[in-house]
């Protein structure tokens, strides 16, 4: 296997033991994300209290990259305001789509996912949970990776 493999310990660990996995009893916000390319699907529940993400949970069927990204995302946005979460979504997307090296430090552990940008067909897998979070916070019921024009430029569409 290549040394550059994205399948590093952190990602495999989040895939095996996803954090915040499951559903919330009566979430204030919910969205379902779907990647038609590979059939990945995640359900995301949020409890927003006073503009803060108090609780967050996800579940679904997905590849390791999508599951690790979901797991790490839920850790990263818990306790944040929706505005803070939106800017993190933006920064995460820029890291994967534009491949900008500048100042990734504030993304913290999410940086391990930067390597996905070398796998253009897998960028959508990593971005799906972030789309879904955006959809949930904006009270849309569903998100799809097909709506991301930036990601589409990188990803060969099929079917």
């Amino acid at each position: 296997m290549s040394q550059k493999s994205i399948y590093q310990e952190v990602i495999l660990d989040h895939n095996r033991k996803p954090r915040n996995y499951g559903s919330l009893h009566s979430p204030t916000h919910h969205a379902t994300g779907h990647n038609p390319l590979c059939g990945d699907r995640i359900d995301l529940d949020i409890n927003m209290i006073n503009g803060h993400i108090e609780e967050i949970a996800f579940q679904g069927e997905s590849c390791a990259i999508c599951k690790a990204s979901s797991s790490m995302m839920t850790n990263a946005v818990k306790g944040k305001t929706s505005q803070e979460a939106e800017s993190l979504i933006q920064e995460f997307r820029e890291m994967l789509v534009n491949g900008e090296e500048k100042d990734l430090d504030h993304l913290g552990r999410l940086k391990v996912l930067a390597g996905v940008r070398d796998l253009p067909t897998r960028v959508k897998c990593a971005i799906l949970p972030w789309h879904t979070l955006h959809a949930a916070m904006n009270s849309a019921d569903s998100a799809t990776t097909e709506a991301d024009n930036h990601a589409n430029e990188l990803v060969a569409n099929t079917h």
Partner: protein
Amino acid sequence: MKMADALLTPAARQTTALGMEQLRADFPILDIKVGDNPLVYLDNAASSQMPQAVIDRLVRYQKTQHANIHRAVHHLSDLATQEYESARRKLQRFIGAHEDREVIFTSGTTDSINLVMHGYGRKFIESGDEIILTALEHHSNIVPWQMLAEEKGAHIRVVPINDAGELLVDEYEKLFNPRTRFVGLSHVSNALGSINPVKRMIATAHQHGVPVLIDGAQAAPHMKIDVQDLDCDFYAFSAHKMCGPTGVGILYGKARLLESMQPFKGGGDMITSVSFEKTTYNEIPYKFEAGTPPIAAVIGFGAAIDYLEQIGLDAIAAYEHELLVYASERIRQIPGVKIVGDCPDKVAVISFVMDGIHPHDVGTLLNQDGIAVRTGHHCAQPIMQRFRVAATSRASFSFYNTKKEIDALVEGIRSVQKVFAQ
């Protein structure tokens, strides 16, 4: 040595590994590396690779024979027309069609099926009529019929499959009733590789007076096709899955049916006369070949047929079956790996799932070893739903693959398991 020798008998190949080496040397792309690893190309069901003979034919056409066809009186136009029509006769012979005008060049299998939907379906299928499809169809043999059903108020009935990925022929026979108007059926499942008993199923449909379209995209590259023996009404396949170029395929149709159909696309070449008061359509096959076709690709398709016939479809089928048996045995032995659709009558396609590892991750990791497989739903989501999986990994073999490459696949699958066992 002749290329056919490379595939003729297992014994012959054992005495000379050189046979396969020479055959593989016909395909320049097989020499490339993916990173540090030699390419192991096991995505032939999606698209096969092109031998030098076909590449050379495309270049020769473009350098010395190109002009538009069926148009001008000059030398090049005449030459290009002859070569184009000669490719049609090659295809006619290849599938055993009665006449060359029964072979229509299309942009591929999807286009061929859409042609039948528009030309036959929209003319003859009415509200309340029924169309029979199977649970094994590719989306391209589902969606056009759904569009037609929606437009006309017709209904789609689906032949179910069993756990081995075989059609339930008894159930198929029960679906016929006086409103049944059409059957669309794949010869071979693209996602699983199952070979369907199409001859028997065609005979059943004909007992009810119902015409049958066979989607042969996954069959024509791997076995001898005889449309008169099958007695199918329509048969469709694509060049790029059988060593030819992309962008071209054929629709075979019985002349009587093709003549009864309305045109699909309007334009040049498909007419005999045009005025604003009345346009007269051309004879078949030209009635269905509007506009300038992909002439180079058609001629390349002819060269691909020559190449396959030189090896021999029977030799190809026998050798690929040997690959299938070997690969199936080896993959079945790996704990945690399950073949989806493991029936005896298959072409050399293995769809598999791995415990706790998503096919997309399998595909990415195998790629790091230079191994190309297809992962996803294979444009056959109803099959995925039937087996309750979101996706599978699919290794699909061609006559230029080797047992050594199957060993590399098995080794690759074990490496994937090791990564996920960390």
